[in-house]
């Protein structure tokens, strides 16, 4: 009897679809200004179209502090109806099959680029997230004025890069800016070098996941740690590299105090918000490899929006994320925060007046074979102590050899916790 009444109500509900999901949805978004602005734009636009749906936005810190909050709140069933979080290995750490709603059937899935989906697909083959924001590159910002003044070319090989650094230092500038005060930034050069590993060893990610390839013993992969060591040894870093923060780093590139800054491409947005003109003096290139045969960019998938399986407003939340991942949602985001890279939605065109570093990055995405996804999107294994290890190698506290061995051990710990075979 009850079921029949429920069924009848559901039928009426279907007929009145737009008003059926009146709800207040809670949203947990990371406190990065860009994420908050994008989310605000999305929720406001959605509420205008659906006046019966209102939102309650809440912010959380990023980095490992944020991981902690997300995992704990999911585990105790107190997660917001919608939240944003990384795709790739961090997504797999959320126990997605138990905690996250299946979003495979959303209409928007048909226009989401196929390259994004593996990053949010759980091992049972269900898609559990939709993209939130633009793809990023893991490369190097450079100051175009310093390059022009000294007469340098954008380097294609690591050797050219180091030669440029030598000339930059002789000319009295800081060759490479590092900002270990924001410790996650120490990993960028290492992780951004993955294109070069992948180019020489296409099955590295697979072997690595199966515990058959190690950073300490694989000479191609080991280069990624070695590059960090070379820069530190050559004394190419800014004096305050240990305490400088990401904002300091971007500022140094914009003000022509430093020539290079290895950083994820979307970092630039924070700077452009305060100083839109800064973009003109900044360019972007991929982490160079050892030969000029392969030159390409390591790409980061954008974070995703997820809906916890236990959400009391499951349907309303799913409808919202479906819209957020539509062409309309994508255009709303571009209007609010611009584009720091290509969006993952078919039919969502980029604006024509892109800031210079973003414009430098787009060609990599437009040519087949000039990008590779970062390792964390190809393998569930990522050692949590990486940022401390890269700080130590990048400051000369440990050698690349010691750091690589330590990282391999750290990775093993993670693989065991995930219960992967072969570890």
């Amino acid at each position: 009897m009850n079921r029949m009444i429920f069924g009848a109500f559901a039928g009426v509900g279907l007929l009145l679809a737009p008003t059926a999901n009146a709800a207040t949805l809670t949203v947990l978004v990371d406190s990065n200004t860009e994420s908050v602005n994008a989310m605000q734009a999305l929720t406001e636009a959605y509420s205008q179209a659906h006046p019966d749906v209102t939102f309650d936005l809440e912010t959380r810190p990023g980095g490992s502090e944020g991981d902690n909050i997300i995992k704990t709140r999911l585990a105790i069933g107190e997660m917001a109806d919608i939240f944003n979080y990384n795709a790739g290995s961090l997504f797999l750490n959320l126990k997605p099959i138990q905690t996250l709603a299946d979003l495979s059937d959303l209409p928007s899935q048909s226009t989401i680029k196929p390259v994004f989906k593996p990053g949010v697909t759980s091992v049972d083959g269900k898609v559990r997230g939709v993209p939130f924001g633009a793809a990023r590159g893991g490369g190097i910002f450079y100051n175009k004025k310093i390059y022009a003044d000294i007469g340098l070319q954008v380097p294609v090989t690591w050797q050219q890069f180091m030669e440029n650094n030598k000339k930059i230092k002789e000319a009295g500038f800081v060759p490479v800016v590092q900002t270990y005060g924001t410790s996650w930034t120490s990993q960028v050069l290492f992780l951004g070098d993955f294109f070069n590993i992948q180019a020489k060893q296409p099955d590295f990610a697979k072997l690595y996941t199966e515990n058959k390839a190690k950073y300490a013993t694989d000479p191609v992969a080991f280069r990624s740690f070695e590059k960090l060591e070379e820069i530190a040894k050559a004394d190419y870093l800014n004096k305050d590299y240990g305490a400088a923060t990401i904002d300091d780093g971007l500022r140094m590139i914009a003000d022509a105090k430093g020539a290079h800054y290895p950083m994820l491409s979307h970092g630039i947005r924070a700077l452009l918000k305060d100083d839109p003109k800064a973009a003109e003096s900044i360019g972007y290139f991929a982490v160079p490899g050892d030969d000029d045969e392969h030159n390409g960019l390591t790409a980061w998938l954008p974070p995703a929006l997820y809906v916890p399986a236990a959400s009391p407003n499951l349907e309303a939340a799913k409808q919202f994320v479906d819209w957020a991942a539509s062409v309309n949602g994508c255009e709303t985001m571009i209007k609010a925060i611009g584009a720091s890279g290509p969006y993952m939605i078919d039919g969502c065109a980029l604006p024509t007046n892109l800031p210079s570093p973003v414009a430098d990055m787009i060609p990599y995405f437009q040519t087949e074979g000039r990008t590779a996804p970062a390792l964390e999107f190809l393998s569930p294994v990522k050692g949590p102590a990486l940022e401390q290890i890269t700080v130590e190698i990048g400051s000369g506290i440990k050698t690349a050899k010691q750091g690589a061995a330590l990282y391999d051990a750290d990775v093993g710990k993670q693989a065991k916790q995930l219960g992967l075979p072969n570890w």
Partner: protein
């Protein structure tokens, strides 16, 4: 002999016992169990001593253990030395004694995180007041918090600055409990000020010393907030202590491993503090 019957019925104990069991006893017992499991908040798989083996196998976890010991003994030792010296100074009837006592005690009242952030700014390698000041007189200051060999000691120094006020306060109370008769007797026997300090003051403030040492040693062993606010254990792992390592393992989702770290911390504190209090309290009785 029968124990004298308590004046209160047993059920008086009940509210306290319930709170203690639910909030303290149960979690403690549970943590001993989870330390032996691989735990992901949803399910726990018993893996025996693996977590402990892992803990002692990893170089940075072991380094964290050493750092904890260095930090705890360094801060408690310096706090009791400087605390005693300051207490002697501040009970000697010097000018503005009351005001100076307040000044010494003031850092104790300030939020630890606030102090950490402030000193991190002061100790910035290029823009911090300390190095800018040193630069003015021609000295190139080191990276107080960014040099791997110095970071832990810089934090210990700030801990001393923050905690010495409490040690001083305890010592002042201890000093005022010493009867002036002893000093008078010592003076009549021709003891110098230094001799009075070593032969009268130091032995007789022993109870205060025990309190200061025990409190600051426990505080040092489980120290977390100041270190987290200043370096987050960095650069790299160089100022990591047990508590920050445990927190990082927890953040990374190694719940079993981080619980094992907590058990190790618990055992470590017990191994150091229990014999210490036993030793000190026994000597006191003999005095």
């Amino acid at each position: 002999m029968r124990k004298p019957k308590s004046a209160y019925p047993y059920w008086f104990v009940l509210p306290g016992a319930v709170i203690f069991t639910v909030l303290f006893l149960a979690p403690t017992v549970a943590s001993f169990w989870f330390a032996f499991t691989r735990w992901d908040l949803y399910s726990a798989q018993f893996i025996g001593l693996d977590n402990f083996v892992q803990f002692f196998k990893e170089p940075f976890l072991v380094q964290g253990l050493w750092n904890t010991l260095i930090y705890a003994f360094l801060t408690s030792g310096t706090k009791s030395i400087f605390g005693l010296l300051l207490a002697v100074l501040l009970t000697s009837g010097i000018w503005a004694q009351g005001f100076l006592r307040t000044v010494v005690f003031f850092p104790v009242l300030v939020s630890t995180i606030g102090i950490g952030i402030t000193f991190a700014a002061l100790m910035h390698p290029t823009k911090g007041l300390i190095n800018v000041g040193l630069d003015q007189i021609g000295i190139a200051g080191p990276g107080w918090l960014t040099s791997a060999s110095l970071a832990l000691y810089s934090i210990a120094f700030v801990d001393l600055w923050k905690g010495v006020g409490l040690a001083t306060l305890i010592y002042i109370a201890g000093l005022s409990a010493i009867s002036p008769d002893y000093y008078e007797a010592a003076r009549i026997d021709g003891a110098t000020r230094l001799q009075q300090f070593w032969r009268v003051t130091v032995p007789l403030v022993r109870p205060a010393t025990v309190t200061v040492l025990t409190l600051s040693l426990i505080g040092g062993l489980r120290s977390f907030d100041l270190i987290w606010a200043m370096t987050k254990g960095g650069p790299g792992f160089s100022s990591d202590v047990l508590a920050s390592v445990v927190y990082k393992q927890y953040q990374s989702g190694f719940y079993g491993l981080s619980t094992a770290g907590n058990v190790i911390l618990f055992v470590l504190i017990a191994i150091i503090i229990v014999p210490m209090t036993y030793l000190f309290s026994r000597r006191e009785v003999h005095q």
